[in-house]
Amino acid sequence: MEEVKLHGFWASPFSHKVIWALKLKGVEYEYIEEDITNKSELLLKYNPVYKKIPILVHGGKPIAESTVILEYIEETWPQNPLLPTDAYQKAIARFWIQFGAYEPYFRKFFHASGEEQEKAAKEIFGMLKILEEQGLGDKKFFGGDSINLVDIAHGWLPLWFGSIEEAVGVKVMESTTLPRLHAWIQNFMEVDVIKENLPDREKVLVHVKKVREKFVANHSN
C-alpha cells in the first residue's frame, strides 16, 4: 500500500475539500500542516508552479490543484463513488464543479468596498441563483441523496464564504432569496464527514479579518 500524504493549511477550504474526499473514501493519509507565510522546501519542490497547498503526495508523486487532486482520488480509489459513472452525467457534474470557480467577483467582494463591492455582491448572488436553480434544482445534494464532488467543490460556501460575509459585513446568502442553497447548506453541514472535518469557525473569522486588513493596508494610498 503506497503512502498518502496531504500538505495543507488549517484555514484553507481547498485543503478541506481534499480531506473530505479522502475521508469519504476511507483512505488513510498523513497530514502535514504547512505555514504558508514561510513555505517549506518540500512545498516548493512539490508545487514549483503555484507554490500552494493543497498538495497530495501518493507513493512520493505529488499532485497540486484541488480539482485535479479530487479527480485523481476518484480514479485511484473507486469505492464510494463521488462522480457519476455515466459519461454524460459526469460531464454535467464537471460543468457544475467548475461553475463559479475563480471568478474575479469573489476577490472584489472580499477586498473592495462601496459601489465596487455592491456590484460584486450582485454578481455573486446571480451566480448562486443559477447554481441553486439549475445545478441543484430539487435535489437534496448536488450528488442526489448523498454528497459528491460537486457538493465538495461548493463546500467552501457555508463556513468560508459565510466568514467572508461576516468579515465584510455584507450578506449575500439569505435564506429568503436563496432558499434551496440555504437548505443545501443545512444538509451539507450535517453530513458526518463534513461536520467532523471543519476548522473552528471563530478562528477562521479571525484569520479572514486579518487577511482583509492586511490587503486594505497594503493597497491604501
Binding site: 485535479v68 464537471r94 467548475q98
Partner: protein, 219 residues
C-alpha cells in the same frame, strides 16, 4: 444506434476549434453550426443557458458546455485514439497543465496584447514567466503528451497558433526562438500535425480580424 453529434462553434475561437480537433482525432462524424456571437441562435441559448457561449457539443440531443469538459466527455465516449493518458497520475498531470494553460497562460497572453499601460506591462511580465514554465515542462518531449499529441497540446494550440497571430499584429516578441526555443519548435510541430493543421482557422483571416480589432482598440 444512430449517433447524432452537433457542435456549435465560432470560426476564430480556439475553444471551439479544440473540440473539433478532438472529434477529428476520434473520427467522429458531426454537424457543425457556425454561431454569430453578436446574434446568438435560440438553439445555442437553449443548449447553454448558463453561459450562452460556444463551444457546445450536443450528442443525441444532450448538450455539454465548456471545452475541456467536452473533450473529456469525447475521450470517455469514443475510446480509441486516446486524448488523455490511462494512468491516473499521468491524467492528473495532464489536467494540471491544461488548467495552467487555460487559467494562467491564456489570460496573460491575451491581456499582454489588449490591455494598456501598467496592466499591459504586468501582463507581459506574467506571460513571459508562463511561457518559460511551459518551456521547462516540455523538456525533451516532442509534444506535451509525449510522442503523440494529447489534451495539453490541444489546449496549448492557443499558444502555438493564435498567439503567433496576435504577436504579428501587436508587435510583441514573447514567443521567439531566442526566448523559448523548445516551445517554438513544439508549436511548429503541433501546428503541422495534419489533424490540427486541417482544423485551424485561416491564419490570414485571423490576422485580418485581429488587426482590425487592434486598430480599433488603439484609437
Amino acid at each position: 444506434m444512430a449517433e447524432e453529434v452537433k457542435l456549435f462553434g465560432v470560426w476564430g475561437s480556439p475553444f471551439s476549434r479544440r473540440v473539433e480537433i478532438a472529434l477529428k482525432i476520434k473520427g467522429v462524424e458531426y454537424e457543425y453550426i457556425e454561431e454569430d456571437l453578436a446574434n446568438k441562435s435560440p438553439l445555442l441559448l437553449k443548449y447553454n443557458p448558463v453561459h450562452k457561449k460556444v463551444p457546445v457539443l450536443v450528442h443525441n440531443g444532450k448538450p455539454i458546455a465548456e471545452s475541456v469538459v467536452i473533450i473529456e466527455y469525447i475521450d470517455e465516449t469514443w475510446k480509441h485514439n486516446p486524448i488523455l493518458p490511462q494512468d491516473p497520475y499521468e491524467r492528473a498531470l495532464t489536467r494540471f497543465w491544461a488548467k495552467f494553460i487555460d487559467e494562467k497562460c491564456l489570460p496573460a497572453l491575451w491581456n499582454s496584447t489588449w490591455s494598456k499601460g501598467k496592466d499591459r506591462e504586468a501582463a507581459i511580465e506574467e506571460a513571459s514567466q508562463h511561457l518559460n514554465t511551459l518551456e521547462n515542462e516540455l523538456k525533451d518531449k516532442k509534444f506535451f503528451g509525449g510522442e503523440e499529441i494529447g489534451l495539453v497540446d490541444i489546449v496549448a494550440s492557443f499558444v502555438g497558433f493564435w498567439f503567433g497571430a496576435l504577436q504579428e499584429v501587436s508587435g510583441l516578441e514573447l514567443l521567439t526562438e531566442e526566448k523559448v526555443p523548445k516551445l517554438c519548435k513544439w508549436s511548429y510541430e503541433v501546428v503541422n500535425q495534419s489533424v490540427i493543421k486541417e482544423n485551424l482557422p485561416s491564419r490570414d483571416k485571423l490576422i485580418a480580424y485581429f488587426s482590425a480589432r487592434f486598430a480599433d482598440a488603439s484609437k
